[in-house]
Symmetry: none
Subunit: 222 residues, 4 copies
């Protein structure tokens, strides 16, 4: 725990930019030039280049084919739906796997939900979103493959591009926070109780709703 963590300037830069993008500070479509970033972060262009490359491969940045200029990725509705198809497959697969999961594994899902509950009580919307994500991640963990959870984490990150915290959405979220918590709790209970079919239905319904909201957002923003 007390271990020193070396982190290169490039990695730090990438992390900062990632946060800015996913936090909505840099909205989709914004051009991102090496020079500007280098000056802004006070690093050399070569270093920034590396950082941008990381984000490019993560899909957070996209290169304009002609000008080669980088810009914050704009997710098309079609791509959002593709991601949801993938999520559905991975997460529902996780639910299915719950039937053979150890009690310890299931407990981690339940724990994620409890964490979600805390954020509701403290009216912490940002925390809610993170905890919500963790709830989904833990379900995929049930599949027992690091490679699959990595792929899933990647999908979730990409989605954050479009779920950027607009004020309206925040307000909207606040409205139904409790409602959503209830659904999550029900889901966790079903899972622990071994009621795979009903847990599956619960999750599927949630994903379907979310897909529509996010796809609409992507269509509107694009």
């Amino acid at each position: 725990m007390g271990r020193i963590q070396r982190e290169t300037v490039a990695e730090k830069s990438a992390a900062i930019l990632r946060e800015r993008i996913l936090g909505g500070e840099l909205s989709p479509g914004t051009p991102v030039t090496e020079d500007a970033v280098a000056e802004d972060l006070g690093a050399s262009r070569a270093t920034i280049r590396q950082a941008l490359n990381t984000l490019l491969m993560d899909g957070l940045l996209t290169r304009h084919p002609a000008t080669r200029v980088l810009q914050v990725t704009t997710l098309s509705p079609e791509e959002v739906r593709d991601i949801y198809r993938a999520r559905r497959f991975l997460e529902l697969g996780g639910v299915e796997a719950a039937a053979h999961a150890s009690a310890e594994q299931l407990e981690r899902v339940a724990d994620a939900v409890r964490e979600l509950e805390k954020t509701v009580h403290s009216h912490d919307v940002t925390g809610f979103v993170q905890a919500d994500i963790r709830c989904h991640v833990e379900v995929v963990e049930l599949l027992g493959s690091r490679h699959l959870t990595d792929a899933h984490r990647h999908l979730m990150e990409k989605l954050r591009l479009v779920i950027t915290a607009t004020e309206q959405q925040e307000a909207l979220v606040r409205e139904n926070l409790k409602e959503r918590l209830a659904v999550h709790k029900e889901f966790a209970e079903l899972l622990v109780a071994g009621e795979v079919g009903r847990a599956r239905a619960n999750l599927a319904a949630r994903l379907e709703d979310a897909e529509e909201v996010v796809a609409a957002e992507a269509a509107g923003g694009g």
Copy 2:
């Protein structure tokens, strides 16, 4: 039509190195230093750095924790099994999805098998391996999500690290080439016929066998 596409020196370098690694020219554990590669490929260190970073993120290179020197990734048996868990999930999921797939989609799987057949007739072992991979890729395509097929492609590439074409293996492969083709053909027929259950069993058995072989190889090589 004849659209031109640019490829930077860094991309070219990465592609060359990737081919060397996956082709077994650079075997797992081989240290890879910026200087050496830079001189070898006739590019500057900064450029090579970028290329190596790409491969690092692809998992083809690993950084030695102590010396920070890059080396060709050595897959542990445990990691091989993790990859196979992921493959099993994705590919068997693809089989399941075949029930709702269009005739056109199923045709692509059948086509991949036909291509495999050709390589057997022309005794093209290298081609066989590639066609074999394509057979599996096409099954995952049935899931209809680019993100999932990308993830799968990534897994397959990593596996090539350990399935490197040793002469012994080639000989071994030659032995049972026809046998393996027969299994593939049966699989394709079952899939097209809508016999999901039996197709699933066919594929599951193949994956299980392969996992044991590859995991053993990884244990031996490491």
Copy 3:
């Protein structure tokens, strides 16, 4: 070994256009405008301009004096005869030089003929034309000056403008492929045997025949 080499978009564009012209895809007289090419190849006008300039200086494109529009060069019969005068001088000079050439050099000519033989056996007409050209190039190589071989290569390329692979010609070529091979083989043997006079006569006759055919073609096509 695996040294990387860069190729600019302009160079790539020039190469593509050259191939289209020499391959007969763009026939003599066809107008070539910057805009059209730029859009077709997906490059900017400035870049394409550079590529077109290269081809202009190579003589593959000609600028219409009035409209200043570029068009694929149409070789006049007179120009064809000029080229053949030059070829005759260079190639017959090469034959003369064979008297003082090393065995190794002569072997390269013989090798070119052997390559020609292969293409006949495999009924590869395209390959035949290329190998035929190489036979002539190797003779000029005997002169031992890179500048002369460059000039010769340039002539051969220009001729390809009018020897474009029309189907009729292909058929015609197929007819006398073996016959032409025989003459080539005899030539190589004479050369290696040091029979300069007879080798000279052999080559001179071939060039004279070819000149008539090509000049007629140029007269007809123009």
Copy 4:
């Protein structure tokens, strides 16, 4: 004759630079950057780029393989000898062709020599060099192929890279101007008289001498 000749800025720029290089104003090895030239000549970089490209293809500029920076070409002694091999072949071939040349054609050679004589009388060294070149060009003209004379002109231009007017050379040239004129006159007379063999010897001797001088110069300069 009174026709208007449009000349693009790029062409003009190329001509100016060519003159600077061949006139020794820019000596071999001097780096030539787009920016500097653009500012110097008052044209845009795109335009200059085109001009530089022309000179690059003419062999007057060379691109440093690593840095891609252009610099005035430095001729190696080996390349000088290659050029002389080519010149020997072309010019001696021209002499040979004199046997079948028209009186009018031979007259042009004689005229070139007369022009040379004038420059000697007016002590015009620069003019002497130009007239000297014309004497050689006219001989190649006897071959009757524009393509060959073009190739020859190209060789002569490249040589001017190393025959740059150093003061010492100028002095040296002044010394033997008359002597060289005498040899030229003898050559023209032999040619007109149909004494091909002796004309050939005359020219061959001159070329051999020149080759040694120039190759030595190239070795010294490099």
